[in-house]
């Protein structure tokens, strides 16, 4: 067999890639036929619900399950914690009640009698002084980088301090600021959970997961069986955003209950449990001082930030501060704040949205101070960046974004816009970077003698259009239509594919499916070459036929070609290893976004007028779903910029806005106009497929905060920019 070239066709030649293909599972989803984990109903199943700790910090004095067992319809009570246990956050599950119906399970949970000793709690992560007083801070690292080095006799720290002060003295413009972003919850619309069933010692878990190939082990380890006895299935998932990688202790408990009762068990977290314990993004608050030269190019950055990722402290990594922009001289320090909140989980682009919102706001304040356009300051500072994308690409994207926003015509200096009654408008910019490397992935392609094609891969459809993308890659390779391909994903017994996290899926499945189908095609060519009196390496698959290159008259239909396989289907597989060099995929993207807002100075309400997102992602597989992901990321960004945050009660440490009615998310009327531009010039397309899920969700916090600052002439320091904070900032600005 000739050497197979694992490459993509050119833009001109590609018949499927780069063309918008509607989701193959779209109608199934929109008429309610798609079965999510929550929708799996097994015969004779029990419904389980759980009781969570009502306090931020407490000790269980006693648990009495007898009243719950007496409730009609309750079959089993499983204790997850015992008397004497200390619970460190609100919502931590204590006991699970399995019953014949939701109503009975709920009544059973309400009947559980638990006595608590309430212990002191701390949840106000923004209050660094209080955290220090209570000894709840931890060192979270830092870094100092200076162009000048200390002499042999210098004390390093003294030198650094003196050098930093010297750099500030030399600076023409100095900005001091405070910025931040509160913790938010993932709030997946389908809560975490499973429907589980045993067949002897084999467990089948319908599990809402972003990690179909990787959760079997979690169940196996916890249940003391081996992974080969676990099958995890997830054909559709109602949101994950980084929070659904594990088996999770509640699903393991459901498996125990199932074993104990000999019946299938469905356990899904309640809405408030979903918000309280199933995923949140760390908060971040920062004090910044920066110094710039006369052109506004930052020469020295000095910052200290803090925040919480739960009981262990941590918070936002110091490694991404200052974000994208990286002056030659900087000092950054980080402090973790331990709070009585559940540990954070990865949230779309971990660390980056907070880092962006904590640093590019300061760059915007520099523009404000100088009275020049943020566009110019952002452009000039591209000479010092730390990014996996080039300054050149950012420049081109800035230019496109500015055109789409009509930036130059609409811009006014901060706080100098014309007011319409109490309404003032403003614009802001931010930019971001991300990796998006292709994850590990294996796939098998099967070609049937009657022409049918199937693909098999243990990846998952998160809403990003993965099922459709798998079909597109195979169809492109075989010269078929995506609807011709039967795609099998979402089961742990399929060839192993990586978790969907970090924007690694599109690259992963593109690699494995392209390679496997090229391997399959080479075999098919060999089998059909004789019929076309040509050599296998002379053949190509185009437009539903297999033909001789350069001699299109010599061709044979796909189905007929597959007939040459005889009675046995042809199978070929391939694997991609994360990090392996390949011309099919790579990593490193940028992206520029601009926001235009209107702020009511009387009510403090911020309304989105227009938002522009320009995004590169290497080769675009499916433009329509790529655009959807960017729209979605922007809307999620509007959400954390203007609406959502975790609120806790200082007295009890309880998460008090954990119901849907109280946890504010934007609705359809709140998003304004959104313009998305896929940036795919040939030099970017050449880089191959790169992941897209995270990058566009990074910039909105900073871009919207900057737009509000531009409108008001004062900074509202902490996201979300709720009316109360806007009014407070206006008051403080006047004082």
């Amino acid at each position: 067999m000739a050497d197979i070239q694992y490459t993509w066709p050119s833009k001109e030649k590609a018949s499927v890639l780069g063309h918008s293909v509607l989701r193959l599972d779209g109608l199934e989803k929109s008429v309610g036929a798609a079965k999510y984990t929550y929708d799996i109903n097994l015969k004779n199943q029990l419904i389980a619900q759980a009781l969570g700790s009502p306090y931020g910090h407490c000790k269980i004095k006693s648990i009495d399950i007898a009243p719950a067992m007496k409730v009609k319809g309750v079959v089993h009570v499983e204790l997850l914690r015992k008397a004497g246990d200390e619970l460190q956050w609100n919502g931590e599950l204590i006991a699970m009640v399995a019953a014949e119906s939701e109503g009975a399970a709920g009544e059973g949970v309400a009947a559980l009698k638990v006595d608590y000793e309430v212990l002191p709690s701390f949840t106000h992560d923004e209050n660094l002084e209080e955290a220090k007083k209570r000894k709840l801070t931890t060192k979270a690292g830092g870094k100092v980088e200076l162009q000048n080095e200390p002499g042999d006799d210098d004390d390093e720290e003294e030198f650094e301090a003196a050098e930093i002060e010297r750099l500030f003295k030399e600076s023409v413009h100095v900005v001091e600021g405070y910025y931040g972003v509160d913790a938010i919850a993932h709030c997946c619309l389908e809560p975490h959970g499973s429907t589980v069933e045993w067949d002897g010692d084999k467990l089948k878990a319908y599990h809402s997961t972003q990690n179909v190939s990787g959760t079997d082990e979690g169940f196996a380890t916890a249940l003391n069986i081996t992974s080969d006895d676990v099958e995890v299935e997830c054909n559709f998932i109602g949101g994950g955003f980084g929070s659904k990688f594990a088996a999770d202790y509640w699903s393991v408990a459901a498996a125990r209950v199932s074993k104990e009762t000999g019946r299938p068990v469905k356990f899904m977290l309640s809405r408030d449990q979903e918000l309280k314990i199933a995923g949140n993004r760390p908060s971040g608050y920062i004090n910044v001082r920066l110094g710039a030269d006369k052109n506004g190019v930052v020469q020295i950055w000095d910052s200290h930030h803090w925040g919480t990722a739960g009981t262990k402290g941590r918070g936002v990594s110091q490694s991404v501060i200052p974000y994208v922009f990286r002056p030659k001289n900087f000092r950054r320090l980080a402090t973790g704040v331990k709070t009585n909140t559940v540990g954070s989980r990865a949230w779309r682009a971990p660390n980056h949205p907070q880092a962006c919102a904590m640093t590019q706001t300061a760059y915007d304040d520099l523009a404000a101070k100088m009275g020049v356009s943020s566009y110019d300051i952002f452009l000039r500072n591209l000479e010092n960046i730390s990014s996996r994308q080039t300054a050149d690409v950012y420049r081109r994207e800035l230019e496109i974004a500015a055109k789409l926003m009509d930036w130059k015509a609409k811009w006014h200096p901060h706080g100098k816009g014309e007011a319409q009654g109490s309404i003032v408008e403003g614009m802001g910019i931010a930019l971001h970077e991300w990796g998006g490397v292709a994850n590990n992935s294996s796939a098998t392609i099967r070609i049937h003698p009657d022409g049918g094609v199937e693909s098999f891969c243990g990846t998952q459809e998160l809403g990003t259009g993965t099922r459709t993308a798998c079909a597109m890659v195979v169809a492109e390779t075989f010269g078929l239509a995506p609807t011709d391909i039967k795609v099998h994903i979402g089961n742990s017994k399929l060839p192993v594919s990586g978790a969907s996290g970090g924007s690694t899926t599109i690259g992963a499945i593109s690699e494995s499916h392209r390679r496997a189908s090229l391997n399959a095609l080479a075999k098919l060519f060999e089998s059909v070459a004789g019929k076309l009196s040509a050599k296998a390496e002379q053949l190509e698959a185009v437009g539903g036929v297999i033909r001789v290159q350069g001699d299109p008259a010599k061709s044979i239909g796909w189905r007929e070609a597959c007939g040459s396989l005889g009675l046995k289907p042809l199978e070929a597989s391939a694997s991609h290893k994360r990090g392996d060099k390949s011309s099919l995929s790579s990593e490193g993207v940028g992206g520029v976004q601009m926001a235009h807002v209107a702020v009511d100075r009387e009510t403090g309400v911020v309304r989105m007028k227009k938002y522009v997102a320009v995004q590169d992602m290497g080769l675009v597989v499916n433009p329509v779903t790529a655009e959807s992901q960017i729209y979605g990321a922007v809307i999620m960004g509007i959400s954390y910029a203007l609406y959502e945050h975790r609120l806790t009660d200082p007295a009890t440490g309880a998460f008090i806005n954990s119901e849907m009615a109280d946890y504010k998310l934007p609705r359809i009327g709140d998003i304004g106009e959104i313009v998305v531009e896929l940036f795919e010039p040939e030099d970017q397309r050449q880089r191959g497929v790169i992941g897209l899920g995270e990058p566009p969700v990074i910039s909105p916090g900073a871009a919207i905060s900057n737009a509000v600052a531009n409108a008001l002439g004062v900074r509202v320091p902490v996201l979300p920019l709720i009316p109360e904070r806007v009014l407070d900032a206006l008051k403080a600005g006047k004082a």
Partner: protein, 240 residues
């Protein structure tokens, strides 16, 4: 917000109190407004069920106790007079997607539970118990209601239509428009959105983009499909 009407009460997850209900199909819509939401309450209905009290548990004595124990507003107390207490399981007939089904319900059983667990119609989703997400939207006598805040027993004699009825060989134009404009990502909110959109379009066949932005505020999407939903619904209007 006109696209989706909300029924009047919340089912408290931890309450041992009384649940009052009214006829969801005779409701006029309540606005949630942009970005805001919440539970709504009002007290009036011509429905035979509207002034009956139900209890969460299954004993009539507990019901009486709960009715006394719970602080009530004057109007609520008035509403409770003459309340008929129903408890235990009861077989009722529901008409769902033009088919009659015998289902077994308790007073507390929601329409959503019946659809999902007894009829395996899982298109309507459980996202929030208080109906503030719109994910469980179904049509009752042609009007959009949250199945999560509607008691099954109140739906006897009414025509219930779920998102599944929009499928089949000739799918409804609303879900088709959602597919064509890629107005779904994870898709968990989508069935609710599709039903709300259908009801909205029936009422406003010539809706403008601005009206769509105002009229579909009862549904939440976490993946952020709103921009596509606007285009989908716009394309399904008479002018679209």
């Amino acid at each position: 917000m006109e696209g989706v009407s909300q029924s009047s009460f919340t089912l408290p997850s931890d309450s041992n109190g009384v649940i009052r209900m009214r006829d969801p199909a005779n409701e006029s819509g309540n606005s949630t407004g942009g970005g805001s939401s919440g539970t709504r309450s009002s007290e009036n209905s011509s429905s035979g069920f509207s002034r009956r009290a139900f209890l969460r548990g299954s004993s009539a004595a507990a019901a009486a106790a709960a009715m006394v124990a719970r602080p009530e507003t004057a109007s609520a107390q008035k509403a409770n007079q003459g309340a008929e207490v129903v408890s235990g399981f009861k077989t009722i007939t529901l008409s769902v997607n033009v088919q009659k089904h015998q289902v077994n319900v308790e007073p507390r059983t929601t329409l959503l539970e019946v659809l999902r667990y007894q009829l395996d119609l899982t298109g309507a989703k459980p996202v929030s118990q208080d109906g503030s997400s719109g994910a469980s939207t179904v049509l009752i006598d042609g009007r959009p209601v949250m199945a999560s805040t509607t008691l099954a027993i109140a739906c006897e004699g009414k025509q219930i239509q779920t998102v599944e009825s929009f499928g089949g060989a000739q799918p409804d134009s609303a879900p088709v428009a959602f597919v064509q404009h890629d107005a779904q990502q994870c898709g968990f909110c989508t069935p609710g959105f599709v039903v709300a959109a259908r009801a909205f379009l029936d009422k406003h066949p010539h809706a403008t983009e601005e009206e769509i932005r105002q009229g579909l505020n009862g549904n939440i999407c976490r993946c952020g499909t709103y921009a596509n939903v606007i285009q989908a619904v716009l394309s399904a209007t008479k002018g679209g």
